[in-house]
């Protein structure tokens, strides 16, 4: 009985972990690009949330649509202006460029904001909790889970049910052939990168509300996001959410067993999945 709250809290944070990896999974699944600047995007969005919150005094949750929109634009510009130029030159150029980008962004943020530890202020929200069936559940984690899950559902509907989603799936299958039907795949790639960064920015702000960050936090977020992608596996948009839940529960149970373990247990889960089920929990074998 004692373990139930731990597992519940693991699931609550797991939704956010899943959302942290969703943008990375989407971009890799559609464009076969591993965006190594993913962690910096998370931190940048948290900083944007921090500044808008301090400047306007608006609850960061209400800022989410604006921040998502800004990062959608950044994503589109990044893909169309930079990454599309590297298509068809093998997997290495995008890796190098996004790696360079991550280093640049990290140090620019370090120059601009210093190494201080920040946290987005959401007033008394982190301290409110509900009491359900004898358990106390934080409202902020609950809202975080709700928003994260909503993002997954929304993306699944867009990709699975709309005409745009059909074009995205076809482009992922064969970007040469879609051109013969009049699709400009460069534009589609831009929109997908925009979507990915918008989702990532939502995750970044939510993360910045519940834990601290510095300009240099991106590296650990990137690692976590990669673990989400690998554990979840490609082939299903729900993979990252399942992986997030698994990581969240393993993380908190691990911390309970060994308070100084940090991310050791999620890392072990990652290792185990690679060993036993390299296609991931929800992964399909894809050609």
């Amino acid at each position: 009985m004692d373990w139930v709250p731990t597992i519940i809290n693991g699931l609550l944070i797991g939704g956010l972990y899943g959302l942290l990896g969703l943008g990375l999974a989407l971009v890799f699944g559609i464009m076969r690009i591993a965006n190594l600047a993913h962690g910096e995007v998370i931190v940048m969005s948290a900083f944007l949330g921090l500044f808008l919150n301090q400047w306007l005094g608006i609850n960061p949750l209400l800022l989410l649509p604006v921040i998502a929109l800004v990062f959608f634009g950044i994503g589109y510009a990044l893909q169309v202006g930079l990454l599309n130029r590297l298509l068809g030159k093998g997997p290495l150029p995008p890796l190098l460029v996004t790696f360079g980008l991550s280093t640049m962004l990290r140090n620019l943020m370090g120059q601009g904001f210093g190494a201080d530890i920040h946290r987005i202020d959401s007033g008394s929200l982190p301290f409110i909790s509900l009491h359900v069936a004898g358990f106390s559940i934080g409202v902020l984690p609950l809202i975080t889970l709700a928003i994260s899950t909503a993002c997954f559902v929304a993306l699944a509907l867009v990709i699975g049910r709309t005409g745009f989603g059909r074009i995205v799936r076809a482009t992922a299958d064969d970007f040469h052939v879609v051109q013969m039907q009049g699709v400009n795949y460069r534009h589609i790639y831009g929109l997908v990168m925009g979507l990915a960064l918008a989702l990532t920015a939502v995750a970044g702000v939510l993360l910045g509300m519940r834990s601290t960050f510095t300009p240099y936090s991106g590296v650990e977020h990137l690692l976590l996001a990669f673990e989400v992608v690998v554990i979840g596996g490609l082939g299903s948009l729900w993979g990252p959410l399942i992986a997030g839940f698994a990581i969240g529960v393993v993380h908190l149970v691990g911390l309970r067993l060994d308070p100084s373990s940090g991310l050791l247990y999620p890392d072990l889960l990652f290792f185990l999945v690679l060993l036993i089920r390299p296609q991931g929990l929800a992964g399909l074998r894809r050609a």
């Binding site: 059909r166 009049g182 400009n184």
Partner: protein, 232 residues
């Protein structure tokens, strides 16, 4: 004015010249066939017209506009649809979603989902299945339907009969009459010479990237074709 006018087209794969000074025309509503051995440059020609290969010299005019070097998606939107060699269906999409991809060209006209299902009734039955779960002939129907859904003025068909049983090929070519009745022209690459001579008003034979023989199907003798086909 012809619908499509290819004038002195040269195309390259790297440093290898695959097409030399190709010139021919396709009129509105006409069926033209390209025949030739493997490696004669037939597919290169199709890909050059579709905008997938940039030509370094020569000109392609379509409906009075110069489309040389135009990006492939723009060419498609102007009304040139392709049924690519090997069909190239999207494995992640259902039959109906594959067909609907044709509408990405954003062209209105007679070809809609009901019209395509009317042409190939079997596809309506299988519309929820993954496209690659169908038989080869049915997949070819999906590829043709997908191209028609873009309501093109010119249809490029590359090796429709490749890997299909003769009976199935016959069924697919049988639908050509109805496609032509909707007013579009067809440029066809075909290894099956007899088939090409049957359906096309004019046949061009390719040999090593050059047109070695041209003429109406009925006027070409088998010896002349054989000579133009194999060289020597």
């Amino acid at each position: 004015m012809p619908l499509l006018e290819v004038d002195g087209l040269n195309a390259f794969y790297g440093d290898l010249q695959a097409l030399h000074e190709i010139s021919f025309t396709v009129d509105e509503g006409e069926v033209i066939a390209i025949i030739g051995a493997n490696g004669a440059g037939k597919t290169t020609l199709m890909r050059s017209i579709a905008g997938l290969i940039r030509s370094r010299a020569g000109r392609v005019m379509f409906g009075g506009a110069d489309i040389t070097g135009l990006r492939a998606d723009r060419v498609a939107r102007l009304g040139i649809a392709s049924v690519p060699e090997g069909r190239c269906l999207y494995p992640s999409l259902t039959v109906e979603e594959n067909l609907a991809m044709g509408t990405a060209a954003r062209r209105d006209g007679p070809w809609t989902l009901p019209a395509v299902y009317d042409l190939f009734p079997i596809l309506r039955e299988f519309r929820r299945r993954p496209a690659t779960a169908l038989s080869g002939g049915q997949q070819q129907m999906v590829a043709i339907g997908r191209a028609l859904m873009g309501n093109p003025r010119l249809l490029l068909c590359d090796e429709l009969s490749l890997g299909l049983a003769p009976k199935i090929v016959g069924e697919i070519y049988a639908c050509f009459d109805r496609i032509r009745q909707s007013g579009l022209a067809i440029l066809l690459v075909e290894q099956d010479v007899t088939r090409a001579l049957q359906v096309a008003s004019t046949v061009h034979c390719f040999l090593k990237g050059r047109i070695s023989l041209s003429g109406a199907g009925s006027t070409l003798g088998i010896d002349a074709i054989s000579h133009a086909y194999f060289g020597g």
